[in-house]
Symmetry: C2
Subunit: 358 residues, 2 copies
């Protein structure tokens, strides 16, 4: 039986769901795979908790309670006012260890690189380290010990299908198309049903589908990051600036408060309604699509045939269609819930098992 | 760089496509993964070809030509009138070796078990060894060194999604539903379009979608084997006899020649047309569905909502929907071409790479 020390950066919604999932799974995994995960360090934005001999079930559950009620690890009895995340890496002291990044920070790169240099595995739900300079992506992924399933489509195995099915079956990729935003899926489905753009955005915001500032979703930047990760996984040395991204609002609306933005939104209603009507007249519909293709990776609103995989997609599920030499007539399609703390934590856990078993 | 000896049972359409794919991929894999595959033995139904030091590119291409023109390996200059397949296993002489089963035979089990005992990997596109007694399935899969992606959905990563995403993310499976026959997909899509059952079967036969005796497809037994493999992959100790299978013809039509069967087929047209009309009246349609659920795994024609994943499926693509705790509201869906020599060979190659790298 192999003990696998875990060092986790981030203890927000996904981080807490992951701790619970690891604890729930450990007995099963010991029997099934001969592995057992042991948390030795966890960090949040204000500090960290550290236990060289590993935290017990009860201690971890206590931390989750503290965090859920707004406290910080820094105040816990295992508190460790951190200097740097890199300090936490050397606490594990075995190559079997795995560093987990479930933050939304761009300050984890150094610690991740150090962990990989030490021979540890790394599992990321955080897109930021993978969407900086291509050079950094290469450094992180060169050893094959860095996994990042949950960065695209949460637990839907988009990255695994590319890395462990399509590439090793020597099947050339013509292009990949996908809808990678549940929020924007909700909006385009609503437009298709004849609802107004401004109402849909307001409803999505009320329901908590969007970030507090809905422009963070409507900008398309999160989708572009996912497209960049897919392109780089294919081996293309692309930089973020090379991906044209079409936001769902004009440049002049990027300024000003959220309230001003929401007030101005109805101005866009007629243009989107017309664009949808034109698409429907040709048996098409509109989807917010990431297209990954050599030389023309791009992100934006696109007309797609109603009877295509993307056209049949409804609601907030994610969908990816791989068009390859083997899947030339009809694409290889994956569809499922591409967001949410449970799905994201599930994807990270599958990565942890793959790293622990390899 | 690791040399991985290959011993391949079967050199039909899939077997030949696999040899070509391995040869095409080898340079890329050496660079990408640091592995290189080397064929040391290949068998067909009449004999085998053996080269302890490995066959060259030219020698393998020559074998493909001989086979494609109806010859046998037994007559080639490397001919080896075989005693038993088990004799071939010991030719590899290293634990890095992999035995490949791309036959449709049920006589490969002993050789596969011997290979696994020697510490080799095994990669199967052949369903037969996995669909005999559950005990044999357990023996084959206990070590984790037996992979069989192409037995269900060809290259569509159905097995990988179950084994490497859902199970290791500790996500309980409620049930799995799927359409695993391109031929029966063609038939149900045609019924939905109002065409007659007998015409559709005749056309499918003419186009080469069915076996020479279309009852081999219409019996549902091939779909049942796939359902059994999925259930067993979930850890359920199911036997074939425990799966109710509804054939698409009545028992009395199981006897007699193919010509008699084809002549009698129009008798079934009205019943299927009525069944489809009833389904359509309720916004449903008919699909030939495998349902894998604890205590009620079964295979047969089923009414499904038109707007469900199965209902939206058209033509001969395969589709699988995983209903789990994480994917509770909408399932995790995979769709793609589930047959054909290229897709099947692609799935086996991905298995070879996974075995070689682990």
């Amino acid at each position: 039986m192999k003990i696998v020390p875990l060092i986790q950066f981030g203890l927000g919604g996904v981080g807490r769901a992951l701790v619970r999932r690891v604890l729930d799974a450990n007995d099963d995994f010991e029997w099934r795979y001969g592995i057992r995960f042991l948390y030795v360090a966890l960090s949040d934005s204000r500090g960290a908790a550290v236990a060289a001999e590993g935290f017990s079930y009860a201690q971890l559950m206590h931390m989750l309670t503290v965090k859920a009620s707004g406290g910080s690890l820094a105040d816990s009895e295992w508190g460790y006012k951190r200097g740097e995340l890199t300090d936490l890496v050397d606490l594990a002291g075995t190559e079997d260890a795995i560093v987990i990044d479930v933050t939304a920070s761009d300050e984890t790169v150094d610690a991740l690189l150090l962990a990989l240099e030490r021979g540890y595995g790394a599992a990321l739900a955080n897109k930021k380290p993978l969407t900086g300079p291509y050079r950094t992506f290469r450094h992180l992924t060169a050893s094959g010990r860095c996994r990042y399933e949950s960065t695209v489509g949460a637990g839907v195995p988009v990255i695994a299908t590319l890395s462990e099915t399509i590439i090793p079956s020597h099947d050339p990729v013509h292009h990949i198309q996908g809808c990678f935003s549940g929020t924007l899926g909700f909006l385009t489905t609503g437009l298709e049903a004849g609802r107004s753009f401004s109402q849909l955005v307001a409803e999505a915001r009320t329901r908590g589908y969007t970030e507090p500032d809905p422009r963070d979703d409507l900008s398309g930047m999160d989708v572009a990051r996912k497209a960049l990760i897919l392109a780089r996984t294919l081996g293309w040395p692309l930089e973020m600036e090379q991906i044209p991204v079409e936001p769902l609002f004009p440049p002049e609306m990027a300024q000003g408060s959220v309230a001003e933005f929401m007030t101005a939104l109805p101005r866009l209603d007629e243009a989107y309604a017309q664009q949808m009507a034109q698409a429907r007249a040709q048996n098409h519909t509109l989807r917010y699509v990431a297209r990954i293709e050599a030389g023309e990776t791009r992100v934006g609103l696109q007309e797609v045939p109603l009877d295509s995989a993307l056209g049949q997609l409804r609601g907030s599920d994610n969908l990816v269609a791989f068009h390859t030499q083997v899947y030339a007539e009809t694409p290889l399609v994956l569809q499922g819930r591409g967001a949410g703390v449970d799905g994201t934590a599930a994807g990270v856990l599958a990565d942890l098992v793959a790293l622990a078993r390899s």
